[in-house]
């Protein structure tokens, strides 16, 4: 399901930057915040230095949650350079991000998160309303402290961008309230039942 939605996002991104992008969701996990231990660093397959660039949107009303696209700061620099065709970033400002960089991540987050959250909405037959992403730099612990305590579950999607031979790994976290989580589980059960009927 998510591979189809990120497939749409990748074709849009490919057209925009005029470079072939392949997006994959190789792994999906669902965590219960109360019982499962969660560390942001563990969402990303590669070891990071704990600094992340996170692009987040919140959705409200019928389904409540927060979706975040997460990259380690080092990886996102490479990604930004590829998007704006800046072939080489000077070592001196490799980890300094400008407003221009934030805008690139905002646009990319908008496209990818729209696809994923839109898919969740489609699954539940709900029309979800959300604003443009907010992009911020966090260290892992700070991000976790900011996440609202009324969320009960996290849907974790590992995501891989392949741009002209360069592999960039990130993650999408969808924080859900208990009711929204139950709605999704209910819907998945229905889909499963329909499949076996």
């Amino acid at each position: 399901m998510f591979n189809v939605s990120v497939g749409r996002a990748s074709s849009l991104l490919s057209e925009i930057i005029d470079r072939r992008i392949i997006l994959n969701v190789p792994d999906v996990k669902l965590l219960d915040i109360k019982t499962d231990e969660f560390h942001l660093e563990e969402c990303l397959p590669e070891k990071s230095d704990g600094i992340f660039m996170i692009s987040s949107i919140c959705f409200e009303h019928e389904l409540q949650g927060k979706a975040s696209l997460i990259f380690s700061a080092k990886k996102i620099r490479k990604f930004i350079d590829l998007c704006i065709k800046n072939d080489e970033t000077e070592e001196c400002y490799e980890l300094d991000f400008s407003d221009i960089d934030f805008d690139v991540v905002k646009e990319m987050g908008n496209i990818v998160l729209n696809s994923v959250v839109g898919e969740v909405g489609n699954l539940l037959n709900l029309k979800l309303n959300y604003t443009l992403p907010q992009v911020q730099i966090y260290n892992g612990a700070d991000f976790y402290e900011e996440v609202d305590s009324h969320y009960s579950h996290i849907l974790i999607l590992n995501i891989t961008f392949l741009i002209e031979g360069t592999r960039i790994e990130g993650a999408i976290l969808v924080h859900l309230t208990l009711n929204s989580f139950n709605d999704i589980i209910e819907k998945i059960k229905k889909i499963k039942d329909e499949l076996y009927e």
Partner: protein, 306 residues
């Protein structure tokens, strides 16, 4: 409603409203100024023909999605160059306006050229500073090298030798290790200088340093003590005879310098001293090794040493 249009008209950003057929319904003063197209000229015309840079598949797909979902989209100036003209960079926000049965799309063109200019300026300053810093670091290394290394031969100078030797002696005392100090002198160096000149003499010293560096172990220290005298410190040796391995490597590597048809044989006399047997300070060890070297040199020239 006129009030709202008037408000949009005076905004210092480009505002365009299009309908579901992508036809322009509103075009504010800013858009007129920046494109040189009046509202009357663009009214009811497709935005794709009015602003040809938007005539792309991804723009059309995005607009269709927005009319369906009612959400917002964002085009960054860095990824979408020259949206309105070539001299100004614009971010573009797209939002759906619901008006009963009808839906419209609001396009906001926000000038971010100043950001681009300032960031580029900052980047160029940072790049300059980075280059300057790299140069300074290189110079610092050169200065350090001049302070601690012999400029002719590249081996440690007397200052660095004393600094390192003191530390190694301290370690040897603490861990009860044996340590060997070798004093080396180039035979007949004065004759080489007198006969062939100082330039050749210098080349001979460079060759000697090369021979010594090749003979020692990784953590041993080779230093130029002064003139044609060199020191080698062998920390952490197992027995008094261990230095013989190094000594034999040095004596075996007698080298011939070929200069202007002349062949100059370089030979080196070696003396040694050991901690703790011969002294418990670096100066005592040097004095002892120096005396040993002269004794050996005399024997060598007297033809007593084989």
């Amino acid at each position: 409603m006129n009030k709202f249009y008037k408000a949009l008209g005076v905004l210092n950003e480009g505002i365009v409203i299009i309908d579901k057929q992508l036809k322009v319904c509103y075009w504010n003063n800013y858009m007129e100024t920046i494109t040189n197209l009046t509202f009357d000229q663009v009214n009811n015309k497709s935005i794709l023909s009015v602003l040809p840079k938007l005539n792309t598949n991804y723009f059309k797909k995005t607009v269709n999605d927005l009319f369906e979902s009612g959400n917002k989209a964002f085009f960054s100036a860095a990824m979408h160059k020259d949206l309105l003209n070539e001299s100004i960079d614009y971010n573009l926000n797209l939002s759906v306006i619901d008006e009963g049965e009808s839906k419209y799309l609001l396009l906001e063109f926000i000038d971010v050229s100043c950001q681009f200019m300032q960031i580029n300026k900052l980047k160029s300053y940072i790049t300059e500073l980075h280059k300057l810093n790299t140069k300074l670091k290189e110079k610092e290394k050169i200065i350090e090298k001049l302070a601690y290394y012999d400029s002719l031969t590249g081996v440690a100078n007397r200052t660095l030798f004393y600094e390192l030797a003191k530390k190694m002696l301290h370690n040897a005392k603490r861990n009860n290790h044996l340590m060997c100090l070798m004093f080396l002198d180039v035979d007949n160096f004065k004759c080489i200088n007198d006969q062939y000149g100082h330039e050749i003499g210098d080349r001979a010293l460079i060759k000697v340093a090369e021979i010594l560096n090749n003979a020692v172990r990784k953590n041993d220290i080779v230093a130029r003590y002064g003139g044609d005298e060199f020191l080698i410190l062998l920390p952490k040796i197992q027995s008094y005879d261990d230095f013989k391995v190094i000594e034999s490597r040095i004596s075996e590597s007698k080298d011939i310098l070929s200069i202007d048809g002349n062949e100059i044989e370089i030979s080196i006399s070696v003396g040694k001293s050991f901690y703790p047997k011969d002294g418990d300070t670096i100066d005592k060890l040097i004095t002892k090794a120096d005396k040993d070297m002269y004794r050996n040199k005399r024997k060598k020239f007297a033809g007593l040493l084989h």
